[in-house]
Assembly symmetry: C2
Homo-oligomer: 472 residues x 2
């Protein structure tokens, strides 16, 4: 293995130098970027033209615009509109090699990353940007019945579930089963949960109008369950209240302070939140998990202390302790940032602007290290020191449905139609790749005028056996 | 079961009459349409406004524009561009109920269709339009290594295979494996095979340019294997020759008179076609099956004599013997049609115009039967009798790649750029749903100018284990 790895590294280095426009035969420092989400992509792009050989490793072949993933899950956009091939995005950056591969191990001491196919890659700098995944708070058995939404595969599975639920309601002769098919439960009222619930209500009331003969899709029940006292916790209470009101206007039943204690095929069990003792069983064929997020299991491969959510503690330079060559960024990093007062520290949230900022910052530190005199290592940097990473919060946005959204820009808070337009503009603007922007804009314009959602495709045929539903 | 079926039928009938604008309480004849491809859809639409209750049953929720399926498999179009929800397409036709369901049996005597979920539906008229599937000529074990292209799922699987082949070539350290990854074999040179091979060559030479660092995608080998002496057998020999020349110009190795005798993981074995005895092994990670088509297994449920390809023999009225109430149409039907001379009979080919024409014809026969005096049954009709179904052949078209196609309109044959424009126009015209047309046109315009293919999405992550390849 070691010999093979050595050979490969040598090959990599030769090939990338021969590709480089500099044409220098001296080995250039190798930068390994694990994960090409917002953070990894920003870091890679910030190293354009730098005298390094970058290898970007991702399990997928595409960079995913995750903020719009719920639109794929609800048939509003097709997958290629929000997913662009990584190697296409980076084709012009000659110091980058892209590998679609799975990382199986990280050896901090030997500075090597082991891949699932048996290869190993050495590095002088490592940027770990592997992101986050769902967390079921230790109840992993819920995953089967309440899928989450992190990858395109998740979105396809959820889209098929939602569309099949209406199909099954139409073909089922049993009224109880029909009701269960027409009940949708979304667990967790963060931005994804709120967007899912709002869109599901819209689909039931508008998109499917006149298309069924035996059921009325508008009779569908959409529940949004949240454990904390209000929806969209990250926003100020007034905006939470407005969002809840907008959701209710769309027909969503919003229940806050509601703890889920069980999920089965066709049923969600919740503790009644009104102070009385007891639980309630809600029959529902379709349950969406939007409650818990945990850092990627890849964080554990670094063999460093993790926080409760599985994130890796990093210092003000986004390095792990004693490893100035290893950066952890994005949702995987437990980073602190000075507040606007310049002194108090606050955790950096797991949002895409933070990941992008961390990516650019890590790249800047690598460039600084390259400029340092031979052999000199940049010292550790506390999070409150000058020059440490500082997260700039430009605000928060969440859409609720057609013409409804809430926005918090810090200095300004607003909701309703104007917030919705603002949300639309921001998402189109940040959507990567000019063509995608155009297509998405067109899709949305069409959806707006027609009330339709065009990506209503279930690729797999009908389940041969009907889904068994627990009888209430 | 019988009691349940009776109850359901009663319910269906009540509900559909209460939905009907006529509001008559008399039971209307029930028409059951199995399969909503080109044939089933045409039949259903031709019965708009007719005093019948139609139930359309399909395993999928969408009608698929199959002639463009290869474009989804080669990342040129996203699935929703060529797939529209059946119930959305038929929402305005009030005498139609759409069920997403799988048919498990047909009882000709009791006039009942049994569904996989246990329900049964009765009918007065039955239209079976279940289409065709792949045939491996008895070598079903080849299916794993050489997938075919009939459904969206097939297209997604193929797209992932093609894209992953290039990815694996980039990450593989083994030159032999790299070569196998960069070898693509298409078996069968009908329209689908020709289109696949041409597009694969284009992807390798144009789309992926500059995106790889360790391999040159343009060095990929694309082989098109055909057992018969020429490509596009359905076209005149001159057009076949032109198509073969255009394919070669794109970089496709065309081998006619070449019999495949074995397919393994990573290898295709062919009999050398040059008269010498022996076989040749072609290492190839990606093999596409475009050779054999067999009628849907649903044909067997009718318990009637089938032809060699599994198709159901029908008379000039498209009825099966002794069942004037059962029509079989489209790829599932072994139908005969008078030639333009009005006398000689020829088999109706398994193409979408034929399916559409059969669908409209079957609907016309049902309408005629409804107008007949109570109790009178339309007599069997030989294929050469006046009034029997007659297939109108408007010609054949096949595209080969960018700016290359061949067209045979009977009175006119042409190839090259003009044929390609004609192909484009015809496909856009027939693509169902205005929005899809617009999107596809835009996608194609973009692809034309940019040489790009935008749907390069592999939803599932990289294979944890590398594909094992038989060493040559």
């Amino acid at each position: 293995m070691a010999a093979l790895a050595g050979r490969l590294d040598g090959q990599n280095r030769r090939m990338s130098t021969s590709n480089s426009s500099k044409g220098s035969l001296a080995a250039r420092p190798r930068v390994l970027v694990i994960g090409c989400g917002f953070g990894g992509l920003a870091a890679t792009r910030a190293l354009v033209g730098a005298p390094v050989d970058i290898t970007v490793i991702d399990r997928s072949n595409h960079h995913l615009f995750q903020p719009l993933l719920y639109q794929v899950a609800t048939a509003g956009l097709s997958a290629p509109s929000i997913a662009a091939p990584i190697r296409h995005m980076l084709r012009g950056q000659r110091n980058v090699t892209v590998l679609m591969a799975e990382v199986k191990g990280i050896d901090r001491q030997q500075r090597q990353v082991h891949l699932a196919d048996g290869q190993s890659l050495g590095y002088e700098y490592l940027i770990v940007a592997a992101g986050a995944t769902h967390s079921y708070f230790g109840r992993d058995e819920w995953a089967t019945h309440a899928p989450g939404l992190k990858t395109l595969q998740d979105a396809f599975a959820l889209r098929a579930r939602v569309l099949k639920a209406f199909e099954q309601a139409e073909s089922s002769p049993d009224p109880a089963q029909q009701r269960a098919c027409l009940s949708f439960v979304v667990i967790g009222a963060g931005p994804t949960g709120v967007e899912m619930a709002g869109t599901l209500a819209e689909i039931a009331r508008h998109t499917l109008k006149n298309e069924f003969r035996r059921i009325d899709p508008a009779s569908a029940r959409v529940l949004l369950l949240e454990g904390s006292p209000r929806v969209l916790q990250a926003l100020p209470p007034e905006l939470s209240a407005k969002a809840a009101a907008q959701l209710r206007a769309l027909g969503v039943e919003v229940r806050t302070g509601c703890r889920v204690v069980g999920i089965d095929a066709g049923e969600v069990e919740v503790e009644t939140g009104d102070g009385t003792v007891g639980t309630e069983r809600i029959p529902a064929r379709t349950v969406v998990w939007a409650a818990g997020v945990a850092a990627s299991p890849l964080g554990r491969m670094l063999d460093m202390p993790l926080d409760r959510a599985g994130r890796v503690h990093v210092d003000g330079r986004l390095n792990i302790p004693r490893h100035p060559e290893v950066f952890v960024i994005g949702d995987l990093a437990a980073a602190q940032s000075r507040q606007s007062d310049g002194r108090t520290l606050k955790s950096v949230p797991g949002v895409s602007p933070a990941a992008k900022q961390m990516g650019a910052y890590a790249a800047s530190q690598i460039l600084q290290s390259l400029r340092a005199p031979q052999g000199q290592v940049l010292p550790p940097l506390p999070a409150d020191a000058p020059g440490a990473f500082r997260y700039r919060d430009y605000g928060a946005l969440a859409t609720i449905g057609r013409k409804a959204a809430v926005a918090d820009l810090g200095f300004l808070q607003f909701s309703g139609y104007f917030a919705w337009l603002f949300w639309l503009f921001v998402h189109i603007y940040f959507l990567i790749g000019f063509r995608n922007r155009l297509v998405v804009l067109m899709d949305w314009a069409w959806a707006y005028w027609s009330f339709q959602r065009y990506a209503r495709v279930v690729a797999e045929p009908v389940d041969a056996e009907p889904l068994s539903l627990t009888k209430p």
